[in-house]
Symmetry: C2
Subunit: 352 residues, 2 copies
């Protein structure tokens, strides 16, 4: 039976929410991932040092892991730590001043920019992209080596929103050549083409955007559990995303964008955006990479590239997957996962 | 207060279903329309004379109108009859022989062609479009002046399906110049462009495709009650549809494609396709045409054009609408209508 071991898998785009939802689903990511970049779009969004630290504590508490004590780090070992799960924290982008950034820099891994109102809980985001208004913040971030993660969509026609955002990426990358800019959850050939245009552009890709197109969301029955933002695009777009993921393009990382909503919020007359994949992401990725004869590249896609791009040293974790049927539960504590009730070809056998 | 009277409104594309659903919703169409072209995609589809007659009887029974006795017709009046609602019946397209068609011709108004599996209950439809296989049936239909109504979608990418079907319309219209071909529920500029290419091509347009684009279905929250096939397309497509509807292009008719599903079938993990508009269609059309200064053209769009194209003489009905708020019910007997709970600008004041 085929096996595959992943070292320190990282989910570089994760929604853990807060309160009861966090407590219900946080441990699912903590089980199989070594760390994850935690999105800040709570209500209200995470935008102060105090909120950021408090949210990290709530996450650590919810997943049953006390906040890491830096003294315990094994400085001479191959890995920074010998267990657990690291929530790499992000702030919600605003025009912050340099003193504030200097004060909070140690606590965060990146700052996440949302255009105002473009997705769940993003009302306080950027209303226009006036480069000069943003310059002090973005230049300070570049000096401090704080990456900027971007939800790159305009408010245009739903199938065009990401492609229309490309000139904003272009402008940001050109104006701030020392700023690391992560194009989050890219879904289009346009974004893949943009990736190599600027040295300072990177990208995350979800597992669902490697698997589905708009046909899966709305081509047969309408599938609320596959509805997300950015919406899944054309099969040609998916093919291009799959290609760079499979080759583990060094500027590309896995980020699930796993986004839990209660079942009732998905199966209703106005379904919230988000696909919940955290507990099945590694199983799906093994299947995709194995089927395409690229299993050897999965380690880079799911961990090594992110370590290089972010300069992070994740908690040690060894996840062994096996090519054995895994029946996806109908729900995880009231949240319906992608492929609920279906059988996946790979299972997680062991986590060390 | 602005009023507008419509004479013999016709819905030239209507799903009345069967059994309890038919009994629950049939009278809503019968109330405000003089007649409707009834789609045959029951399970199993309506494909024999006996089934067609029996289905018509069930419809008449459900809406509380006995089957019309031809002897009662007022031959000298302006209109064929003095009340009620006429279900214009259709057969589900198969390759029928001429004798069968001759026998059933009196009972039907059109034959509806579905590509196999393309929408609700269409599994028994046409698997390929082999013109020579279809020739005997289509030539017989042309001789008998039986129009062919077509659900024009391929099994391609959901946003391309209608545009990809255009070469089949082209081929059908070219090969059967004496056959009236109705492009049902068109949603794209491609279909509008096709309309004037052949003298024997006509089209129906729904009210929801005049109002929504994919943005309304999946641009904000996902809206199952706006999910239909063909799916709503781009704003540019909607603009072109609106233009020919407002000018009451003589080859274009209103057909609601109103398609009821129980609320649970729409708000679930796999939502069925169909927008339920029958009880609000005339109110919406008045609003659209009035806002655009084209209220005088609505009579043609909603009745006169269909009378000319089909050569039908509908039951008399005079529907007076008034520019007065109408709050759309949350459900009609378990079926959620478009704009449930919202307030429309026009109401039906009186039906004679």
């Amino acid at each position: 039976m085929k096996q595959h071991t992943l070292l320190m898998p990282l989910d570089m785009h994760l929604h853990l929410r807060d309160g009861l939802m966090l407590e219900n689903i946080g441990s699912l990511s903590a089980y199989s991932f070594s760390g994850a970049l935690i999105m800040p779009n709570l209500v209200p969004p995470v935008s102060t040092k105090e909120e950021l630290i408090a949210y990290k504590e709530r996450i650590k508490h919810a997943i049953g892991v006390e906040a890491a004590d830096e003294d315990e780090f094994d400085d001479i070992g191959e890995f920074c730590d010998d267990g657990g799960f690291e929530p790499y924290m992000t702030l919600f982008y605003q025009n912050y001043d340099e003193n504030f950034l200097a004060d909070v820099a140690e606590e965060l891994t990146a700052i996440k920019l949302y255009p105002a109102g473009i997705t769940t809980n993003s009302e306080g985001g950027v209303k226009n992209f006036d480069i000069e208004e943003m310059r002090p913040t973005l230049e300070a971030m570049a000096r401090m080596d704080i990456p900027l993660c971007v939800h790159g969509e305009t408010d245009g026609f739903v199938m065009d929103r990401e492609a229309e955002f490309m000139n904003i990426y272009d402008e940001l990358a050109t104006n701030f050549p020392d700023l690391k800019i992560i194009m989050e959850h890219i879904t289009t050939k346009a974004a893949v083409d943009m990736l190599d245009k600027h040295a300072n552009l990177y990208a995350t890709i979800t597992v669902h955007h490697l698997l589905i197109s708009l046909d899966d969301v709305a081509g047969g029955m309408l599938k609320p559990h596959l509805f997300c933002k950015p919406i899944a695009k054309r099969p040609e777009d998916r093919a291009v995303l799959l290609k760079i993921a499979l080759e583990a393009h060094p500027k590309v990382m896995f980020g699930s964008d796993s986004a839990p909503h209660p079942k009732e919020a998905k199966e209703s007359c106005g379904c919230a955006a988000g696909v919940f994949t955290a507990p099945i992401a590694l199983q799906l990725l093994c299947d995709i990479f194995e089927k395409n004869g690229k299993l050897d590249n999965l380690q880079s896609f799911v961990s090594d590239n992110a370590q290089s791009i972010y300069g992070i040293c994740p908690e040690f974790k060894e996840v062994t997957l096996v090519q054995e049927d895994f029946k996806v539960p109908e729900t995880y504590k009231g949240v319906v996962p992608m492929y609920a009730g279906e059988t996946l070809a790979w299972s997680i056998e062991d986590v060390d």
